[in-house]
């Protein structure tokens, strides 16, 4: 499945050239049932891949396996590069104002206040810094998690249903961010049942690997 990068990677890429995410023969078991097996995937700098499939087919499980947070039932996953994950869990304290909740991760990721404000503005959250996270809407929470991801500066993005709850404008922002990330030499894996318009993105139909 190795394909040439679809677009020119800027020479000033912040990510090492050996950034890589590969899976071979990966199988996933939930309970007594093997969800999928024999899955192979190889992504290099600048490549994007959408994991598509119906609900319950194992998209989220695959994302967690790729992230190294869950063991694969069979097969191996190889990662070279830092991994950033977006899933349904925000990692932001619900009681804290959005800016403070993000500031915690910014301190861990070594992000300055200026860059953080820029990320909030990019995602249209500039006005919401004082609002406690629990009062944010579903879409706003998703965007807040994306702001955290931008701050992390990870080379490999694993996005589990990043478009859930987002309006059309915000979806376009996510597509643009993902495209920019790949153009900068990063890797982007998106699990979604919605189609995304990302230049040169491969689509992995999980249904083909159902055991």
């Amino acid at each position: 499945m190795q394909a040439a990068p679809h677009q020119a990677i800027s020479p000033a890429s912040p990510f090492p050239a050996n950034t890589r995410l590969a899976a071979s023969g990966v199988a996933c078991r939930r309970g007594e049932r093997v969800l999928f097996a024999g899955l192979a995937l190889a992504l290099g700098p600048g490549e994007a891949c959408q994991i598509a499939g119906a609900n319950g087919i194992g998209k989220s499980s695959l994302i967690r396996i790729l992230a190294g947070l869950a063991p694969a039932y069979a097969g191996a996953v190889e990662r070279a590069g830092t991994v950033g994950l977006i899933d349904e869990r925000l990692g932001l304290d619900p009681a804290l104002p959005l800016s403070e909740a993000l500031a915690f991760w910014a301190r861990i990721d070594g992000v300055g206040a200026e860059a953080r404000a820029g990320h909030l503005a990019t995602l249209g959250l500039g006005e919401l810094g004082d609002v406690p996270v629990r009062y944010l809407s579903t879409g706003q929470k998703k965007r807040a998690a994306l702001a955290r991801l931008l701050g992390q500066g990870a080379a490999i993005w694993l996005l589990d249903e990043p478009l859930n709850g987002l309006d059309t404008a915000a979806c376009a922002v996510v597509e643009r961010l993902a495209a920019e990330h790949c153009a900068a030499g990063g890797i982007c894996v998106i699990a979604s049942h919605q189609r995304l318009a990302l230049p040169g993105m491969r689509v992995l139909e999980l249904a083909e690997f159902v055991a």
């Binding site: 190294g68 925000l90 304290d93 619900p94 991760w105 301190r107 861990i108 990721d109 860059a115």
Partner: protein, 223 residues
């Protein structure tokens, strides 16, 4: 964007832990266990009667039991909320070992209940009519024993995180495991039992050494 060093990252995490505990945002915070502790110490004279000799003899033990029960109260908010939030996943992705996070959590849990409890032991001791020497032994024992209670609490909270009824189960699991600390701590109050404090501290140290590894293992298994 260079990530900060591990010590400064752990300091950041500790600051968040303490802010969450002291702000009381999550169910009562620091105040509730202390009030519970004082309430138990206050109830005891009502229940057994005001005989000063009886109170002075049993009072130290009552303080120990009350302290143990107070330490159980915050168990359900030690690990479970951050599992739900996905914080442990995010830390793992950043290469921060669960062991380090658990160690920080033991420390911040101890800071959030032990000093307040030791302070509250002063009025509690007065209510129970303890003399100065006994009270000093109680305080010393609490200083030796509470780190072990904190380590035990975090360990058990990690094991029961994500389980249905985990909070009640955590309480039930902690009580028998805390018995050595209780025996040595309260035993130090008996005539000639001062060396109990050293054994209490020893039990604490064993639990402290175990907690990061057991807690981290439980968190990884619970993913």
């Amino acid at each position: 964007m260079t990530p900060p060093s591990l010590p400064s990252t752990l300091f950041t995490i500790a600051r968040r832990d303490l802010a969450l505990a002291f702000r009381g945002g999550r169910q009562g915070g620091v105040v509730l266990p202390v009030l519970f502790f004082l309430a138990v110490a206050m109830l005891f004279p009502f229940a057994v009667g005001p005989d000063p000799r009886l109170l002075a003899r049993a009072g130290g033990g009552v303080i120990w039991v009350a302290a143990l029960l107070a330490a159980i109260l915050p168990l359900d908010r030690l690990i479970e909320p951050d599992m739900q939030l996905g914080c442990f996943d995010q830390w793992a992705l950043r290469g921060i070992a669960e062991e380090a996070v658990v160690l920080v959590r033991v420390l911040s849990h101890w800071l959030s209940f032990a000093p307040a409890l030791m302070l509250a032991a002063l009025p509690a001791g007065a209510m129970l009519g303890l003399n100065g020497a006994t009270l000093a032994l109680v305080e010393l024992g609490l200083l030796a024993g509470t780190p072990g209670l904190a380590a035990l609490g975090v360990m058990v909270a990690a094991v029961t995180a994500g389980l249905k009824g985990g909070a009640a189960l955590a309480g039930l699991l902690v009580i028998p495991l805390a018995v050595p600390i209780l025996i040595f701590g309260a035993g130090s109050l008996a005539p000639g039992g001062e060396s109990g404090i050293a054994l209490c501290a020893a039990a604490s140290l064993v639990l402290l050494a175990l907690a990061p590894f057991a807690g981290a293992g439980a968190i990884r298994a619970g993913r």
